[in-house]
């Protein structure tokens, strides 16, 4: 991608210690400056020092155990945090988060530099995806609905701003994404029938710049995908996974979550736009540019929030600006990211809930597989064929890597009322097997699969490198390095717990590090 002028100018004035915004559009090397490493969401590093021929010598460099401190968490806090977020690495300092907490750690040694604890007023402490950085400032969301800004240098709070309302059962968990002078924040919460939205905040003041709701305006043609304005205005569509961004097109890409009520869809007949969509927005205005809906009229809690991964590549004999998503519903999509036009729609695991795809390439749900009073057998299950753990794309291999699950469960309706609310149903039980899949973006076909020997799920994200490697956690407690082209296992390290975040890599002083979290602990490996 060509470097936009604003980035080139800004880079010149950023002093050491601050984030040079040019880093966000460069191949990943000595830093990991945003949730996905760079704006593309590929989680692909240009580093090559660690490679298949020498990975056997990769060994432990340091361990850091995140300590939240006694009594720091406040209402709803966790005594033992789980690191689900992807750390940032900027100028040799690593920043990691857990709900209500941020730590700065020396990326060379794992020694703590500072710790910030937010006194919580509540909210669901299910996880925190990470932080965003603009210049010398860090931003993160708290479960009790605040956007907090800290000084990068010492972790001192600058300000905090409300971004949602606990009383309405929202909470906040996403990693803010910085695009130009916009801090993009998402929201979470599906206990009640509330609308999802995405916000942009001023990086200096935290003031709201715009809010985009995950529903059409009354009177828009898309509003006809709801039976009533009331259903639409309470229709969900949370924005809990961080966006990707194309600076050249100036488009922000993200997915929206499930419609509300979650399981019982009888009072929201229709496709329920803009829930379960891949969305392209103008970050300066919050204006919708296009949408594509992976799960029209979802009734299985299959949030389409999985990272929309951006890359430029040949497809159908033509070089195109592409976007790919392995969606929670078991389908893999490749879109033209200038227009949202679908180019590939295929199952990456076998599913049983569709009647094929429509003219736009969107799956058509089979009404017989909507939840029923006496149960209906569905695959994937509620956890999905994929979930929030970030995938990876390697331009070297042309393969899209996803941690995939084949799982079944029975979906039940619990409330037969004409106006169900909340969830009014759920799924139960389940068989599942988990695998690492490499999908050919040109065909949507799975090129190779490595099925983990033990059943059960994994919550590990993925990392690919120009060195020809893919890193993933398995269903046990191993961090595993595989050959990106073939899926052959080349290296592993046994940790004390399963990998719980997306692994990262960076190079300092000529040494390439690979870092992954397991529960409350970060493990760093180098040669």
């Amino acid at each position: 991608m060509r470097l936009p002028a604003f980035i080139a100018c800004a880079a010149a004035v950023f002093a050491q210690g601050l984030l040079d915004p040019a880093k966000l559009s460069q191949p990943l090397g000595d830093s990991w400056p945003t949730y996905n490493g760079d704006y593309t969401g590929r989680r692909y590093s240009a580093l090559t020092k660690i490679a298949p021929h020498n990975i056997a010598s990769l060994s432990l460099a340091w361990v850091y155990r995140a300590n939240p401190g006694q009594g720091a968490a406040g209402a709803g806090g966790n005594a033992s945090p789980v690191i689900k977020g992807t750390p940032l690495v900027i100028n040799g300092v690593l920043y990691l988060t857990a709900p209500d907490h941020v730590w700065a750690v020396d990326a060379r040694s794992g020694r703590e530099i500072w710790h910030y604890a937010w006194k919580s007023k509540g909210g669901l402490h299910i996880g925190n995806r990470g932080a965003g950085v603009w210049g010398g400032y860090l931003y993160f969301e708290t479960p009790d609905c605040n956007l907090v800004s800290l000084n990068l240098r010492d972790g001192k709070e600058r300000w905090h701003k409300p971004i949602c309302d606990l009383d309405q059962f929202y909470y906040a968990s996403a990693a803010p994404v910085v695009a130009k002078n916009h801090i993009i924040t998402g929201v979470s919460g599906d206990d009640l029938d509330i609308p999802g939205y995405l916000e942009s905040h001023d990086p200096e003041t935290g003031d709201l710049q715009w809010r985009w709701y995950a529903h059409p305006n009354p009177g828009d043609p898309e509003a006809k995908t709801w039976p009533s304005v009331d259903a639409m205005m309470h229709g969900g569509g949370m924005t809990w996974v961080p966006s990707t961004y194309d600076p050249e097109l100036n488009l922000l890409y993200f997915g929206t979550g499930n419609p509300q009520p979650v399981i019982a869809g009888k009072a929201r007949k229709g496709a329920n736009l803009y829930t379960e969509c891949i969305i392209a927005l103008n970050p300066d205005t919050g204006k919708l540019v296009w949408y594509f809906q992976p799960s029209p009229h979802d009734t299985h809690d299959w949030d389409a929030v999985q990272t929309p991964v951006l890359f430029d590549a040949d497809i159908g004999g033509q070089r195109r600006k592409l976007l790919a998503q392995a969606s929670r519903n078991g389908w893999f999509f490749v879109l033209d990211r200038t227009s949202g036009q679908n180019l590939i729609a295929s199952e990456y695991v076998k599913t049983n809930w569709t009647q094929g795809v429509d003219a736009k390439g969107q799956p058509v749900p089979n009404p017989a597989k909507e939840p029923q009073l006496d149960g209906v057998l569905v695959t994937p299950n509620q956890g999905g064929a994929a979930n929030w753990p970030p995938p990876s794309f390697s331009p070297t291999t042309g393969l899209f890597y996803v941690s995939a699950a084949r799982a079944f469960s029975v979906y039940y309706i619990y409330d037969d009322d004409d106006k169900p609310e909340g969830w009014s149903g759920n799924d139960r039980g389940g068989f599942s097997e988990t695998m690492l899949e490499a999908i050919d973006y040109k065909t949507g076909k799975v090129r190779w699969t490595h099925k983990w020997p033990a059943n059960g799920g994994t919550r590990s994200g993925l990392l690919s490198t120009a060195g020809g490697l893919v890193f993933s956690g398995d269903t046990g407690t191993n961090l595993v390095g595989l050959d990106a082209a073939t899926g052959a296992i080349l290296w592993h390290a046994g940790l004390h717990a399963p990998v719980t975040n997306g692994p990262i890599t960076y190079e300092l002083d000529g040494i390439q590090y690979v870092v992954a979290a397991a529960g409350d602990t970060l493990y760093a490996f180098s040669q």
Binding site: D191, A368, G375, L377, E421, F431, P453, N478, I489
Partner: protein, 252 residues
């Protein structure tokens, strides 16, 4: 900011500072509030406070959601025509508690209040399916005799679909059996303890724990006693599922 005109219609618009955590519902106050609600509010807002053609949904009302002890509810009632305006402070707090109780119930309704009725299938068709697909391993007069006395219908459904996850009240599932054969040495069979790509461990018939580092020369064969159940997941129709449950329910 976008959609200013829409703001008045949208539930999530007014935040202010994020308030303190939601307090616990006072059930005694909620019970008192319920009587007031049934007297003055139910005709328009409905039995469950979800609204009717005459009045809006109060579970989705931002005023109600943000209310503390009637502090927002009282002024809102005064501003609305044809509403009860002379409730005491305590009555307002009680109504607020009742509505909070309804909200909390709604927010937790992903959990079933009563078991779903899964007995909708045809037992005879289920018996035929059982004979064709299950009888090689199971017998209604043998291992499944009286199974319907042990488990409720939902557990029966979950047990035959997913014997490893079992359903509520189910016994500990059988562990996979594993046979490990070293390049030189006798095969060892036992209950699988743990397996990944790098090691395998088992407990043999004598109760001894054994483990091996995996390598290409080490043969590992895992037999899941439930593999036939897992393979059937791709074959069952929903009718098969309901019919088999109906049949199993006859095995009292």
């Amino acid at each position: 900011m976008r959609r200013v005109g829409l703001a008045v219609l949208t539930a999530a618009v007014a935040f202010g500072q994020a308030g303190p955590a939601r307090p616990e519902v006072d059930t005694e106050a909620a019970e008192r509030g319920k009587h007031i609600y049934l007297q003055f509010c139910v005709n328009c807002h409905g039995n469950l406070a979800k609204g009717t053609d005459q009045g809006p949904d109060l579970i989705r009302s931002v005023v109600v959601l943000q209310d503390r002890e009637g502090g927002k509810l009282g002024p809102a009632l005064i501003g609305l025509p044809n509403h009860k305006r002379d409730l005491t402070k305590r009555q307002l707090a009680d109504v607020s508690q009742f509505l909070k109780q309804r909200i909390e119930e709604t927010s937790k309704n992903r959990n079933a209040v009563k078991p779903p009725n899964v007995l909708t299938g045809d037992a005879k068709a289920g018996q035929a399916y059982f004979g064709a697909k299950c009888a090689a391993c199971h017998s209604p007069s043998g291992d499944l005799a009286g199974i319907a006395r042990k488990y409720d219908p939902v557990t029966l459904q979950q047990r035959f679909l997913f014997p490893r996850s079992g359903g509520r009240g189910a016994p500990t599932p059988k562990r996979p059996q594993v046979t490990v054969t070293p390049a030189s040495g006798e095969p060892v069979t036992g209950a699988l303890e743990r397996i990944d790509d790098f090691s395998v461990s088992l407990r043999d018939a004598s109760g001894e724990y054994r483990s091996w580092k995996r390598n290409p020369d080490l043969r590992v064969d895992v037999v899941d006693p439930y593999s036939a159940h897992n393979e059937l997941l791709d074959e069952y129709t929903d009718a098969d599922m309901h019919n088999v449950v109906a049949y199993l329910e006859t095995l009292k």
